[in-house]
């Protein structure tokens, strides 16, 4: 895997947090960004990760790695995100050499992560009942140099099954009615044992799926939900109230709050005599003693809005001999 951008390379342009564009490097072309024009010629020959100067700023040129692709890809369907994808890979035991079945291909978000995990000697068979989507995904894999690890098929698996038999270590289903594919899943999974994951947004789908899995003697059935909460970075500015009692009435304080620790009075000016011990116990105090008595602390705060639900993941195992 070369680390240099070449003619024809897919490049993810990083313009800022959650502002990613995908382009294909092509000599002499120009791409317009909010930072002005970017000449493709400035990309070619550069290392991935390089800073590329545009007419009114710069962007970073990144390679197509699954996490970025998931954020940048053209949405043809609802897609799976990193939290679900990661858990699917772990729970399906997908590893180098794994044979994996996926239906539907959708926008290929999960596919890219599966392929990364099963390389160099595994293979992904991915099925999509929508022909256009199927073709688009195939082209993308081609462009990303992943063709040897994946077979993309346009096929309605609910009606026609997975074509293969007894080959798969793991099957992933993101279909509206996964329960109708269970028999096909059993056929394609290795008889010596294989794992299944279904993804469904609604609990009724999960209920039907689990029922069908039980009926068909699947084991270790469990349903989970995983939500990732990306925090927001914020500087918190805190001022202290200037209690008049603290400032000129020392005897009152002493009388009133005899339980108070000596470290805890804070309106005074003695910062230069600060001892090390005091710093350890009350290290914030020093920074508070700026003229404006305002302290700024970097904090990471849960977001006001986050993904509240993507779907339920149901995992199961079956051994058929």
């Amino acid at each position: 895997m070369t680390n240099l951008i070449q003619e024809g390379s897919k490049v993810i342009l990083y313009l800022g947090y959650n502002n990613l564009h995908v382009i294909k490097a092509k000599a002499n072309e120009v791409y317009q960004t909010k930072f002005g024009a970017l000449k493709h010629n400035d990309l070619i020959g550069k290392e991935f990760g390089s800073k590329i100067i545009c007419t009114k700023g710069y962007v970073h040129a990144l390679s197509v790695i699954p996490e970025l692709w998931t954020l940048a890809l053209p949405h043809r369907t609802q897609i799976l995100y990193m939290a679900d994808i990661s858990l699917i890979l772990l729970e399906l035991d997908i590893k180098p050499g794994s044979i994996v079945i996926e239906a539907g291909t959708g926008s290929g978000s999960l596919s890219h992560s599966i392929i990364r995990s099963l390389r160099p000697n595994g293979h992904l068979y991915t099925f999509e009942f929508h022909e256009l989507r199927s073709n688009l995904a195939r082209n993308e894999f081609e462009e990303h140099g992943l063709s040897q690890f994946v077979t993309v098929q346009h096929r309605d698996v609910l009606s026609n099954g997975f074509e293969h038999e007894n080959i798969a270590d793991a099957v992933f289903l993101d279909l509206p009615a996964p329960w109708n594919a269970i028999e096909h899943v059993m056929k394609v999974l290795k008889k010596t044992g294989g794992r299944l994951c279904t993804f469904s947004p609604c609990i009724e789908q999960v209920q039907r799926t689990c029922q069908r899995l039980h009926m068909n003697n699947f084991e270790e059935i469990n349903t989970v939900e995983c939500l990732r909460r990306i925090h927001e970075f914020r500087y918190q500015h805190r001022s202290k109230i200037r209690f008049t009692a603290d400032q000129n009435q020392e005897e009152i304080i002493d009388r009133k709050s005899n339980k108070r620790e000596p470290d805890d009075d804070d309106g005074d000016e003695e910062e230069e005599t600060t001892t090390n011990k005091k710093l350890k116990n009350d290290s914030e105090a020093t920074t508070k003693r700026q003229p404006q008595e305002t302290e700024s602390t970097l904090t990471a705060i849960g977001p006001l809005v986050m993904p509240g639900h993507t779907g339920y993941l149901t995992f199961a195992y079956i051994k058929q001999e």
């Binding site: 009724e204 009692a245 009435q249 302290e295 904090t299 639900h309």
Partner: protein
Amino acid sequence: MSTFKDGDHAVLTCHDRTKIVQIRKGRPIFIDKNKIFLDHLIDQRDGSYFELKDKYLCNIGTNQAKKLIQTEDISSDNAGQDNRDLCDDGSVNQTLQHEEIEQLKSEGVSGQLIISQLVSKSATFEKKTAFSQQKYLNKKKKKYILIYRAWKPSIRLLCQAYTHDLQKILYLRRDTLAMLLSLSNINHGSNVAIVESCQGLILASVIQRCAGGNGFIFNLTPAGEKNSTSPCCDFMDFSNEYTTNVYTIPIENVGDLNTIERANQAKPIEKPTNEKTLQALERRQRRLDGLQLFEKTKLNSLIIASKYDSLSILQHLIDYLALSSHFVIYSQTVQNLLECYQFLKKRGGNIHVEIADSWLREYQILDERTHPFIRMSGASGYLLSGMIVQS
């Protein structure tokens, strides 16, 4: 009690928007820059429906209102069917121009009519799937059918009204407020001190729970601070009985007996020349009375939800707490509360000290389509709570 009177506040809801307004005869409010008169809300009941007609909100029957706002059932969004049809993006090629619509609106044409015009002038509506048609109609209804509902204010509705303005109330989520009220054990007869920067939302909640009991409610605010106003208390239209024992006092002077003494002695400047000066003097006296009362009162509850440093406030106020009293501190970050926790542990004389956050998850419960909302709040903030005991 459940009808609106001139001067009352009301909470108006329309689709998922919530707005707090005051009803005053002949005085308009503004919604999206449109002047709206609320005169016809007077004498109407809590929960009544109103339609915007010629700048006035006019009462309409419940059944009529419900029929107008009823959304189309997007029934094809069923599990087991595949609706992820790429080519149908829900947009409709529209020949009715934005200006024309605005014209119709200003002429007082009903939302119903505008929508039917939109449909008839759409080039593609008829070609859409039933699913898409319904989705389109629901979207347009949300935009053009403006049926308002007027409610008597409640703490629940105030929380709802601030949902899109959370920064004004330190991002205090409704479940966090609810727990704060429980953990502080506010009840009829409590002596309570509140240091808040949440538009008076906590203060209003406390006033309501205390319901004019014999206890005192101290609203400790930084003097001359703009944010120290408590609009939420106004919104709730409390009776005098409820607010008699509420004292707003300058937090800086708490514990400063000399200053209070001096201020009190300096008071008899005997010349209440005009109404304004008189009122100012009265307010000053009220503050001084409050400060003196505060020094003599043993608190049953202390609530801190302030943009100022909580630790130093806690340190300054903790000795005012009675045995068996409760304290609750709200913060967006756990770090601030850990400082308070360390102080409390060193000081002793407190038990059951907890720091907690919470998850609030809302659900869509629909036939074959049940799942949690796809968007939720990830920011409950944190509450530190505990009790004062003999050490």
